[in-house]
């Protein structure tokens, strides 16, 4: 594998090193000590921390996190595509629309979660108030685990779609108009143009958006903490629940270690498959 464009360019790795070391020192050391702490007690090596979390819903936390991450990513991607496609047309009032669509980016996650807890509250919620004023029946948005996850996903969609739309809009505006014109001369309708021209040209931008957002979705914490508390559990809320009570603090290391192993496997998978190739094109 050729590392440098020019073989005497090895010195340039020195420029990258501070940032790289920063990330590694502040993530690998802590990760290693989590593993160490999970196996230790005052008396030495122990497995008791792992026995302690047998009852915990670790599997459920992972599945729920996957549901929320993947679900939120899909919703964001869909609406971001919609928004980017509207903004790219030079409609009248587009400037206003693009200003409106960026607003949630300025609202911090805890504030967004707080507002949605007001809107979706089963009692005294603004959403139900709206439904009732239209003569409809109120809905309990917290009636099942799945609907609670949906509450998290919806709030997350509101907060994070703008940044995805920004990236996709950037990609769209880079596609030369002549490509679309040539395709319509060739008789492609707008759907086929979208499939054969827009999507392939947009693919690298979609990959970037998925990478940036995917990492954050996996780490989702404040949003569910404010909206649904500790149940249904997500990975971060579960570990935090253990951590915040001194009785179970040592369990949090065991839970964290297991999560770490799973994430590591997942990360290796991403690097091995598609990931790199996709945006090397």
């Amino acid at each position: 594998m050729k590392v440098f464009k020019n073989y005497r360019n090895y010195k340039y790795i020195l420029f990258v090193l501070p940032a790289l070391l920063y990330v590694f020192l502040l993530s690998f050391f802590p990760a290693a000590s989590v593993v160490y702490l999970s196996f230790s007690s005052k008396t030495g090596f122990t497995l008791s921390n792992y026995r302690g979390i047998e009852q915990a819903n670790l599997g459920l936390a992972i599945i729920d996190t996957l549901i929320v991450s993947v679900g939120a990513l899909f919703i964001q991607l869909f609406f971001a595509l919609l928004i980017a496609n509207i903004l790219i047309k030079s409609l009248k009032g587009n400037k206003l629309f693009s200003t409106i669509f960026i607003i949630p980016y300025g609202v911090s996650t805890v504030v967004s979660a707080f507002i949605f807890s007001l809107i979706l509250s089963p009692i005294g919620g603004f959403a139900n108030s709206t439904l009732v004023s239209f003569g409809l029946r109120p809905v309990n948005w917290y009636s099942s685990s799945l609907s609670e996850l949906a509450v998290v996903m919806f709030s997350d969609f509101w907060k994070n779609t703008p940044i995805v739309a920004l990236i996709l809009y950037g990609g769209l505006s880079g596609i030369p108009e002549s490509l679309n014109e040539a395709a319509s001369v060739d008789g492609a309708n707008s759907f086929r143009r979208f499939i054969h021209i827009t999507l392939p040209n947009l693919a690298p931008y979609i990959a970037i958006a998925l990478l940036i957002r995917g990492v954050s979705e996996f780490n989702i914490f404040a949003m569910p903490l404010v909206l649904i508390g500790y149940f249904p559990p997500l990975m971060n809320t579960l570990v935090y629940e253990f951590f915040s009570s001194s009785a179970t603090e040592s369990y949090s290391y065991a839970a964290a270690t297991i999560l770490l192993a799973i994430i590591l496997g997942f990360a290796i998978l991403i690097i091995k498959i598609g990931g790199v190739k996709k945006y090397e094109e």
């Binding site: 050729k2 360019n9 340039y12 790795i13 420029f15 990258v16 501070p18 940032a19 790289l20 920063y22 590694f24 502040l26 993530s27 050391f29 802590p30 990760a31 989590v34 609406f79 919609l82 509207i86 009032g93 669509f101 960026i102 607003i103 980016y105 300025g106 911090s108 996650t109 805890v110 707080f114 007001l118 809107i119 603004f126 108030s129 709206t130 109120p138 509101w158 950037g170 990609g171 931008y205 940036i212 990492v215 780490n219 404040a222 903490l225 404010v226 570990v239 935090y240 951590f243 949090s252 290391y253 964290a256 999560l259 770490l260 994430i263 997942f266 991403i270 690097i271 945006y279 090397e280």
Partner: protein, 271 residues
């Protein structure tokens, strides 16, 4: 053609309502008397009676002002470190082959996939030893971890977009590394630097996980706000949320022209 535009307008208007409505709710809760909002099963949606009493009441609670200042301090620190680290990193990465560059970038992002809590807990243990817990430096150093990959990616894009051969020309003209940076390169990546700063600032401002674990005693604004929400004091929470959110939203709208997808994904070009 006309028909299609109508469909676009309808979708745009519906989405606009969805995007504005939550802010409207926040404003309503802040300025309407409590008996019209939290006091009812179905809160009133129209601003018939407005009052400043919620706002005035929450101002007596100085407890939220200090965290806001803290958040601003932390965010400044995070953005400055992000810029200082990502300028050389972006420059160096642009010199490597795109294969290696892409691997390094991906690796930095993937490291961030580790649940923040998992990393934050042991970091807090270290920081207690170093005396960094409950300090703005402790929070900033930890949040930098979240900010850095995207910062480096943005700066990489900035350096890749530079005119071809401009650095070579400076070499040929006899400039040394420090003048190449200070006189030629840095002035040409001003916009990416500004964007890196802005995005880092926003990310830190928004960050919760590291903040809550590393500095629970001297909390930042999001942590303190969560505190009020979980203690069941939504009036105070809503007033402050609004007061703090409005300036940031205005800032985002003003700086809108810099928040472009091209910059965020700039690292893609020139592979």
């Amino acid at each position: 053609m006309k028909n299609k535009d109508t469909v676009s307008y309808i979708i745009a208007i519906i989405l606009s309502i969805v995007f504005i409505y939550p802010l409207y709710v926040l404003i309503l809760v802040t300025f309407e008397p409590v008996y019209l909002t939290f006091g009812r099963i179905y809160p009133f949606q129209l601003p018939i009676i407005l009052t400043l009493s919620n706002l005035i009441n929450s101002f007596h609670q100085v407890g939220l002002i200090v965290p806001v200042i803290r958040s601003v301090e932390v965010a400044m620190l995070v953005s400055i470190i992000a810029v200082l680290l990502s300028i050389p990193a972006g420059y160096g990465l642009q010199k490597l082959t795109s294969r290696v560059t892409n691997k390094i970038i991906l690796l930095m992002f993937v490291v961030n996939m580790m649940p923040g809590v998992v990393v934050a807990i042991p970091i807090s243990v270290y920081f207690i030893k170093l005396g960094l817990e409950n300090s703005i430096f402790g929070i900033a150093f930890a949040q930098e971890l979240v900010v850095l990959p995207l910062s480096v990616f943005i700066m990489l894009g900035g350096f890749r977009a530079l005119p071809k051969d401009i650095e070579n020309q400076a070499h040929v003209d006899g400039a040394r590394l420090h003048s190449i940076f200070s006189k030629v390169l840095i002035p040409l990546v001003k916009v990416p630097i500004l964007i890196t700063f802005l995005i880092a600032w926003m990310t830190s401002w928004d960050e919760f996980t590291y903040a809550v674990i590393i500095s629970p005693i001297n909390p930042t604004f999001p942590v303190k706000l969560y505190d009020y929400v979980s203690r069941g004091e939504p009036f105070v929470a809503s007033s402050f949320a609004l007061l703090v959110t409005v300036p940031v939203v205005v800032l985002v709208i003003i700086l809108q022209k810099y928040l472009k997808g091209e910059y965020l994904s700039g690292g893609l070009n020139g592979v």
